[in-house]
């Protein structure tokens, strides 16, 4: 009997064979392990994303939701409230509005690469992607100085799930609590001394003359820090894994850095760090002969839709010349990632600077340890050779 268990370390390490079976044989699958439906074909996921009235985010979008988040953040509310909240932040994070981030990103990248000069081998996660993303998000949101390594560790911990109990464990919940506290202090401080930064603007915003709810502000700020740091460093690590796994790709990028955006898009398709999110069924829906009932949860397996041969021929091949459009690396529809322009800019600058500093960067034979998570997929450590 085929099973799909998003809690298993095997799925953390390599979900793609199971996805292929899901797409081919069980396109609308009830996972007993997750106690949720799983949609795996590109077209079905797109249709669900286009129909938020049937596939709602208001009951949470993380496969294992954190307490209190449902209904109180951008990612966990439905329109019209969602659209009003999002409009408050959106303008500050468009490609054009973010041009100011380019120079700071370059100098942050150069600073951390400088420290690696002369090393033969290093852990890309601990020694580059974590430091770079934390510095960048601290700059962008003007976060108060804290022990930045702790902020990052908590962001990474709170998105994990215990594979044995199939729940958030005490260490994950404690990390979430820590981040809430950190965000709460930040919100208090900004209310007293508002700045020009994105978070101040959001905190002071009103919708139809009403101040935002405290819980909404607090949890949206918490989510922005979590997404900004964890999603970004996780994805960047997958991008470098792809580049070092494919030496011909690295050579092409060194010869022509203008191709770096193509490598980013193909990585978002090929093995995005944001593998799965969930929705809640609001109206009885029959798909591929299965009936999903109101109240049932559904996993949208973006990482599987991205390997669907119907849309991406030779989907299991990493192809720099593919220039994939319509991939699900950032999800899609009303809830598609808010940080797409931040992420693309940050990754482009990072790869440009990294390949300038280490044009021969290559992989090290290693058994990767993967993050235990029902949503996200990235290695906890990635050793690379200079």
């Amino acid at each position: 009997m085929f099973r799909f268990n998003p809690y298993s370390p095997e799925i953390d390490a390599d979900p793609f064979p199971a996805y292929a079976t899901l797409r081919a044989e069980y396109p609308c699958f009830w996972s007993e392990d997750a106690e949720m439906w799983v949609l795996s074909r590109h077209k079905d996921i797109v249709m669900a994303l286009n129909d938020w009235e049937t596939f709602s985010s208001a009951k949470g979008n993380l496969v294992n939701e954190l307490p209190g988040r449902a209904g109180s953040t951008l990612g966990t509310t439905d329109p019209p409230r969602h659209d009003r909240l999002r409009a408050l932040i959106q303008k500050a994070v468009t490609k054009r509005a973010l041009a100011h981030l380019m120079a700071p990103a370059q100098s942050v990248a150069q600073k951390h690469l400088e420290a690696l000069k002369g090393r033969d081998q290093f852990d890309f996660v601990a020694e580059f992607s974590s430091k770079y993303t934390v510095d960048l998000i601290v700059y962008l949101f003007d976060l108060p100085p804290a022990d930045l390594e702790i902020v990052r560790d908590k962001a990474v911990m709170m998105v994990q799930t215990d594979p044995v109990t199939r729940q958030k464990g005490p260490e994950h919940l404690a990390a979430y609590e820590w981040m809430r506290e950190y965000a709460a202090n930040l919100v208090q401080e900004r209310k007293k001394n508002p700045g020009e930064d994105l978070l101040s603007q959001f905190i002071l915003s009103e919708i139809d003359g009403d101040k935002l709810k405290d819980e909404e502000i607090l949890l949206t700020v918490t989510t922005l820090i979590m997404a900004g740091i964890e999603s970004l460093s996780g994805f960047m690590t997958m991008l470098i894994k792809n580049i070092t796994d494919h030496p011909e790709v690295r050579e092409a990028l060194v010869a022509n850095p203008d191709l770096i955006p193509d490598a980013i898009e193909e990585s978002l398709r090929f093995n995005t760090s944001a593998q799965r999110f969930r929705r809640c069924v609001m109206k009885e829906t029959t798909l591929h002969g299965q009936t999903m009932k109101p109240g049932d949860f559904v996993i949208l397996a973006y990482g599987s839709g991205n390997r669907d041969e119907e849309v991406f021929p030779n989907a299991d091949v990493y192809d720099l010349s593919r220039k994939p459009k319509g991939h699900l690396g950032f999800g899609g529809g009303v809830h598609a990632c808010l940080g797409t322009a931040i992420a693309r800019l940050a990754c482009k600058v990072a790869v440009e600077e990294l390949l300038k500093a280490f044009p021969n960067l290559s992989k090290v034979d290693q058994e990767l340890r993967w993050m235990p998570s029902t949503n996200f997929r990235s290695p906890l450590e990635l050793q690379v050779k200079a």
């Binding site: 286009n50 303008k91 598609a336 808010l338």
Partner: protein, 107 residues
């Protein structure tokens, strides 16, 4: 399934049948029709899915949201009275046969 006619900036036309509920943007990017990018994956946040809707269909379109109206001020090619963001328009029986003109550039 509703039919959508995509007309490129240099006048080439591509006809596609889209599943009901699929957006005009998704129809283009999933089928390799050039001229529409869709960088923000349809969240009305990038304006790289800008299109000009043939006048005959304009009145049948769903009303544009405030967000779409504001994003349309940020397009790479000139905004015209028939400008829309194609990620905000779903293929429906009502719009069967709709003609979409692509702008010169999206970025």
């Amino acid at each position: 399934m509703p039919t959508v006619n995509y007309v490129s900036f240099d006048g080439q036309s591509t006809q596609l049948e889209l599943a009901e509920g699929m957006t005009i943007m998704q129809g283009a990017v999933m089928n390799g029709v050039e001229g529409i990018e869709g960088e923000c994956s349809g969240s009305c946040a990038c304006a790289t899915c800008h299109c000009y809707v043939d006048d005959a269909w304009l009145a049948k379109l769903p009303e544009m949201s405030e967000n779409e109206d504001e994003m349309l001020d940020d397009t790479a090619s000139e905004r015209k009275p028939n400008s829309r963001l194609s990620c905000q328009i779903k293929a429906t029986a009502e719009l069967d046969g709709i003609v979409i003109h692509m702008p010169e550039e999206q970025e």
